[in-house]
Symmetry: C2
Subunit: 160 residues, 2 copies
DNA sequence: TATACTCGGACACAATTAGTCCGAGTAGCG
DNA sequence: CGCTACTCGGACTAATTGTGTCCGAGTATA
């Protein structure tokens, strides 16, 4: 069970988009991170479909955050890119085999599934407690404020 | 990102193994759950490699739990079957591209990775707090104590 | 000692993820 | 007002991982 690597790209892109209010093209983000622009486009499309970013077309188009960074959680990004479904899927093993419990007795989910889903909920809650703004602040604290500032000027200027 | 379905099988097998102190063959467990015996064998091998169950060879061989059910957590099973590695892998995006932060400044992990790993830790902690014994107790409460008892007699007797 | 039953690892197949490509659409410019 | 150039969007292909199967090595039993 490995998480889609696109999640990492999407998160970094969201942090970068924090620095610019003007639309940023997918190719620019790809060059900034030195990743495949074609593939990054797919992740950005997922974010757009989920309503986290808005796409503006045309000559000077690109992507912009739709909401304030404080109101976008990591859970939102993960659900958008990696899919909203639960990681653990219960196939109702208890209803199969010679000792199958009858279906009418299965009003509550399987205890195994309950425990696994409870752990997933803890994971989701932890992800939902962190916002993109928190990440941007941490990046500032780590790499210094001049980093994001430099990126911002690089994004707005047409430099390659 | 979907968890390996074998985790579900392995957990149910561990719960069933709680009921029997004698070795249980993989084929028996497969028939009980109505799943592929060949594939279930692979999961049991993973559990054996991790030291959670012990394999007894020979004519009346099978698998037995090595420890008490109270000391086997769901995290142990998940790590054994699904792999111990983290679900989120950091590819150090920050060290790439025109604004790459130099490697010597990367003493602490990327903030993005830190947040993701913190969420994973919450998930693992929740999994580590539940034991196979807890699951068996819940199954008893749900399906009634006669269910596991019947399975136990079915396992020990040579019935097909 | 022969045998039948067990696990164990090596071998194919399928599904999901990763990555690429070209077409539809739109804002800017002449 | 039309053209151009640049953007996103979805459809297509390749690689990796998970799923499922098979047969051989080993051991307790009779």
């Amino acid at each position: 069970m490995k998480m889609s690597g696109g999640v990492e790209w999407a998160l970094h892109c969201c942090v970068v988009l924090t620095a610019s209010s003007a639309p940023v093209a997918a190719a620019k983000l790809a060059e900034l991170h030195d990743v495949s622009s074609s593939y990054l486009a797919k992740q950005l499309q997922s974010l757009a479909r989920a309503g986290l970013i808005h796409s503006v077309q045309g000559k000077s188009g690109g992507y912009v955050l739709t909401r304030a960074p404080e109101s976008i959680t990591l859970l939102d990004v993960v659900r958008a890119v990696d899919g909203p479904g639960p990681t653990f899927v219960c196939t109702e093993i208890r209803q199969r085999g010679p000792f199958a419990t009858p279906a009418d007795s299965c009003t509550t989910p399987c205890p195994v599934a309950r425990a696994m889903w409870a752990a997933e909920d803890a994971w989701r809650q932890a992800l939902g407690a962190v916002t993109i703004a928190d990440l941007a602040r941490d990046v500032d604290a780590n790499s210094g404020p001049e980093a994001l500032a430099g990126i911002q000027t690089w994004l707005t200027s047409g430099a390659s």
